[in-house]
Symmetry: C2
Subunit: 287 residues, 2 copies
């Protein structure tokens, strides 16, 4: 398989599904719905929903069945980006090469746009009538998941390098949601307990690898390639994996985690080729 073709194909499917699952832009209040479209339909890489679909397909499920989960995960993810970028949070002006939500629509509307996207994520899952999927997302997203990571990420700014703390932040801020994306796909595909466990390990490992790769790119890439200011972690005194362990060790860790992720899939009698290919692609990505 050609991974770039595979990703592009699925990005298009997800972009269409995201648009279908947002109220039209001209519905009152138009500024809110315009902002929701702006913050979601912005050329995102759709890593999480693609992983969700790939996990469902590994069990022979049709991609369609995984669409509500894929859409919900991406809507939730977009909501966190909108709130993260706020002046009182990371105060970022650029996201995917465009002005961030609060720059374009004002901070109050950005708070409310993030809220609306978060609720829309759970609405999509409620419409799919499977409470187990909503539970997966809520547990990953909540105060013992993504938000825990964000709170500690902000509190860690300017702190001395600390290996335990960076692990907690990466696990919660990033890996838990990527793991949830894979788990939700596996649940849609009817995974057994043992299979779900293997997929969880896969998701967690590539999630950790993904965030370390992000830290490396922020250190070594340029604004143009990233679509956001390179070096912003250093400027904001973020605690990063590279700051704690150095770039060489970070690159090794990405490879090690990706290897362990793929190994977790090897025992399963499933069609896991796309999952392996996505893991390798994430390890080698340039933005």
């Amino acid at each position: 398989m050609n991974i770039l073709t595979y990703l592009k194909h699925n990005q298009a499917i997800i972009d269409r599904a995201l648009k279908t699952n947002l109220p039209p832009e001209n519905i009152r209040p138009a500024i809110l719905h315009e902002a929701m479209h702006y913050c979601v339909l912005n050329g995102g890489k759709r890593i999480r929903p693609i992983l969700c679909i790939a996990a469902a397909e590994a069990f022979g499920a049709a991609a369609d069945k995984a669409i509500p989960s894929a859409v919900a995960i991406e809507l939730y993810h977009c909501s966190t980006l909108v709130h993260d970028d706020l002046p009182c949070m990371d105060d970022d002006d650029l996201r995917r090469g465009m002005p961030t939500c609060h720059v374009k629509f004002g901070s109050a509307n950005a708070v409310l746009t993030g809220d609306a996207l978060m609720i829309q994520a759970f609405q999509v899952l409620a419409e799919s009538e499977d409470a187990h999927l909503a539970l997966e997302l809520a547990r990953a997203a909540g105060s013992l998941g993504v938000i825990a990571g964000q709170v500690e990420d902000l509190a860690a700014e300017g702190q001395a390098p600390n290996a335990d703390l960076i692990k907690f932040i990466h696990m919660n801020k990033t890996a838990i949601l990527i793991r949830a994306a894979v788990r939700m796909g596996a649940l849609v595909g009817g995974a057994s307990e043992i299979e779900l466990n293997s997929l969880s390990i896969f998701g967690e490992k590539i999630g950790l690898a993904f965030q370390i790769a992000d830290d490396i790119l922020d250190d070594t890439s340029s604004d143009d390639i990233l679509g956001k200011p390179a070096g912003s972690d250093i400027e904001q005194q973020k605690l990063t994996y590279t700051a704690v362990h150095g770039i060489a060790a970070a690159k090794d860790k990405v490879k090690e985690l990706t290897y362990e992720a793929s190994k977790a899939l090897n025992t399963l009698p499933l069609n896991t080729e796309p999952l392996h290919a996505i893991a390798d692609h994430l390890m080698n990505r340039k933005n």
Copy 2:
């Protein structure tokens, strides 16, 4: 029945249930869980969850069955208060007589606390395994409900009095969630389509009455009685019912809506005495 005893009894039940449905305060990140407790367990009046329980009980359901819905509605409501109070929103320093979340924990943590409470609301519903209830909450809370009201409420600041606009704001910002509280209780109680329709009218009318009464109190009460700055609507140039229609017409409207609300219940062969009593209590409340 004595309405004050009834409200106090149910407030205690709801406060206990809210505490049970929050992660303990000392769980990492402690500042986040402390903030969640601070913003929820603060002596709130619990109008929405009490209405939810009363609606369920009207159909003969045990209060216990309505607890997940009641808790979810109140958690969501608290999340909106935390975000509404932010400096970039209404910039309020006091809530129920105490410093607001961002004053006590900082704006970044307040954004994340609101997010965490919102997600916790949907987690509680997902644990109760009834996707219909989550759908009710999501539809009421999202970009075509509460958030629509908040966006237009903020945009209306400083605008000329406008009867249509104030109706849109009150309907979305307040009435839709109170209606959802009643509807979720009715659904838990097994309401028929016709019964649900009557309860919806009841919820919507008392929701509108509740918000107009709020506008009147802001105009005519004191900081001590309200637990927040009286006159803040005028100071923030909020568009209020009293600004559009005057205080006398506002008082009449509260009575009219409460009468219409009670009338919607009259055809039902249910135990609606508590719902009537709550409606009357809300009409005559002093804070």
